[in-house]
């Protein structure tokens, strides 16, 4: 049962009509709140999916951007990039059918159970998969430009996918660029080297976000953030080495991250692009040595007591004909503040 969703969605792909889906409960918001994510079921195959509905009539996001995002999801084929099974219109609402990600985004996970950040090993497992996706994207000449915890989704098996390709950027060299405003006269390879370290800067911020449970500088106004950055304050991992018992939360003070993790975050957050490594180099960083013996299948264990929205859970309850009560329970249990950002 649980394996059903992992099957590549070829059977779902051809189903481009709202009649072929049963929609249950809303599990989150996306697109700055103008799109809703629902748990749904593809009726012909019986597999569970996530359905994102956008009402185009009152959507502040530009239509072309939405189309761009979907085209991007279609052009990539990587186990760590969110796949898009099918898209179609029903009246003035755009439906996007995607595989169900049982744990939602890393932001959801932290909001539900890990207010002070995830354990280091879990972060390593997540970031390793994110980096694999980035290596693939960079090879395709794509820069993600919108990497953050809410764009990193975790499936019930612990597999991680990234989403949020709406802001991604295609480099000229790959012949896919359509907007000439972004044309770079530089040699193609230089353009990549120039850009990818910038992206990995945001990876450093994501690492801090996952470790601390909140986004660095999130409580400051934008000019204050700029000031902090000009002052040379970088995002950092909060633990016993750099927090004092009195001002900071006890949780931060009582834990210690490995020096490898500190070095990893520091490297990514370095302000000079030349000092930042490429995605491929980062994959070989010592920080990931701890993940060598284990696979991403271990991730769900580390996220306990959080339970994912698995197909077997949904299946049992739909069979009993108690869909609405279950989904209500689910909604009140872990899903209330879920936010999927796409």
């Amino acid at each position: 049962m649980a394996g059903k969703i992992e099957v590549k969605g070829s059977h779902v792909k051809s189903s481009a009509s709202p009649k072929e889906y049963e929609v249950y409960v809303q599990m989150g918001l996306a697109c700055n709140g103008c799109a809703y994510i629902y748990v749904g079921k593809h009726i012909p195959s019986g597999s569970f999916v996530a359905i994102r509905k956008v009402n185009l009539e009152n959507c502040p996001v530009k239509f072309d951007d939405l189309a761009h995002e979907i085209a991007m999801h279609r052009l990539f084929n990587s186990p760590h990039i969110l796949e898009c099974f099918s898209t179609f219109l029903s009246e003035d609402t755009l439906w996007v059918v995607m595989p169900l990600q049982g744990y939602g985004s890393c932001m959801d996970i932290m909001q539900a159970r890990f207010q002070f950040g995830l354990p280091e090993l879990a972060i390593a497992l997540i970031l390793k998969q994110v980096l694999e996706a980035l290596v693939y994207l960079h090879e395709c000449g794509i820069i993600h430009r919108s990497l953050r915890a809410s764009h990193i989704l975790v499936s019930e098996t612990g597999q991680v996918v990234i989403s949020g390709l709406r802001n991604c950027y295609l480099l000229e060299r790959f012949g896919l660029v359509e907007n000439k405003c972004w044309h770079f006269p530089t040699n193609s390879d230089k353009a990549i080297n120039y850009y990818s370290p910038e992206l990995l800067g945001s990876l450093g911020v994501v690492a801090c976000e996952l470790a601390n449970g909140h986004t660095p500088f999130a409580n400051l106004k934008s000019y204050e953030i700029l000031y902090e950055k000009l002052e040379g304050n970088r995002p950092r991992l909060l633990d016993s080495s750099n927090t004092s018992f009195s001002n900071d939360s006890e949780v931060y003070h009582s834990r210690t991250f490995s020096t490898d993790f500190h070095e990893f975050a520091e490297k990514c957050c370095s302000y000079s692009p030349d000092e930042r490594p490429t995605a491929k180099e980062l994959l070989n960083h010592r920080f990931f040595n701890q993940t060598k013996q284990i696979s991403f299948g271990q991730l769900p264990k580390m996220l306990e007591p959080l339970t994912p929205l698995t197909s077997s859970v949904l299946e049992n309850h739909t069979e009993m004909g108690a869909v609405s009560s279950v989904t209500d329970q689910l909604a009140s249990a872990t899903l209330t503040d879920l936010q999927w950002e796409f």
Binding site: A16, S17, L56, E57, N58, F63, D64, A67, I70, A71, R74, L75, N77, C84, S86, T87, F88, L89, E91, D92, L94, C140, R173, F174, G175, L176, E178, S188, D189
Partner: protein, 270 residues
């Protein structure tokens, strides 16, 4: 060719082996042969990319590129690749798109050799257009077609062909990503080269607006909305003054617009 090391073939060989591989993929049923042809295909496509883009150690060589494109034109490889695009694997389709668009941008002083090549073989354009009928290659064909439309001569070839009217079917496809891609190509065709378009609109006024009417009355919300927006752009363009006056002097059109304004959708703006 010492500059590529010993294992590298020259452009002529690469083009030939790619052609042969495509041939096998198209005709053969034998699994073993197909696998072999696929390997060959992957190899030759990556060597073509290497010729065009160079590598970290090696800048692309102009004379090699010239030789390569000569081979590609004379063997009509572009045509061949497009005919068999649906047989090529997922990642390689993107490579083909890249190669195509790179060649298209190639310029020798004021000449654009690939554009001339395609203008002489308009089949290539219509293969790309027909690509919208096949879900697996639609987006790739769209990317290549829009690159072609940047050139006036190619845009004119499409506009003057009856196949242009196929667009009216493609923009209403049920799959959203394909229909919206088709619409952006359709829009490019009608807005990129003003003088060609105004000529076309004057000549084909009746047929075009007859078809266009269907888009405005479409069941599909997005088609309706985008068609209306594009209509506004077309009519307000100075180049299209003659068709515009003709359009607004028809009372039926006024009625249509009034009815649309009355509709409940708010995003309509003409």
């Amino acid at each position: 060719m010492p500059r590529f090391g010993k294992s590298q073939k020259n452009p002529a060989d690469v083009v030939k082996s790619l052609r042969d591989a495509l041939d096998v993929l198209d005709k053969s049923q034998d699994k073993k042969k197909l696998d072999k042809a696929n390997d060959e295909l992957v190899k030759s496509i990556s060597s073509i990319k290497l010729f065009l883009y160079g590598s970290a150690e090696q800048e692309p060589q102009q004379d090699v590129i010239a030789q390569l494109s000569q081979e590609i034109y004379s063997s009509s490889l572009l045509h061949n690749l497009l005919v068999n695009l649906h047989l090529i694997d997922f990642e390689r389709k993107k490579d083909v798109t890249q190669i195509f668009n790179n060649l298209l941008r190639r310029q020798i002083s004021s000449r654009l050799p690939t554009v001339e090549h395609i203008a002489a073989k308009p089949d290539i354009l219509f293969l790309l257009l027909n690509g919208y009928e096949n879900q697996d290659i639609a987006l790739h064909c769209g990317l290549m077609l829009r690159e072609c439309l940047r050139h006036e001569s190619l845009c004119k070839l499409i506009l003057t062909s009856p196949k242009f009217f196929d667009f009216f079917n493609y923009v209403e496809m049920s799959t959203f990503d394909i229909s919206s891609d088709a619409f952006s190509t359709f829009k490019d065709t009608l807005t990129k080269h003003k003088s060609v378009v105004s000529e076309f609109l004057e000549e084909q006024y009746d047929k075009f607006f007859d078809y266009y009417q269907r888009l405005l009355n479409s069941e599909n919300y997005v088609t309706r909305r985008q068609a209306l927006k594009l209509l506004g752009e077309l009519l307000l363009d100075r180049h299209n003054f003659v068709p515009m006056t003709k359009y607004i002097s028809n009372e039926k059109n006024l009625k249509l617009m009034m009815n649309m304004l009355r509709g409940k959708e708010q995003k309509y703006s003409v």
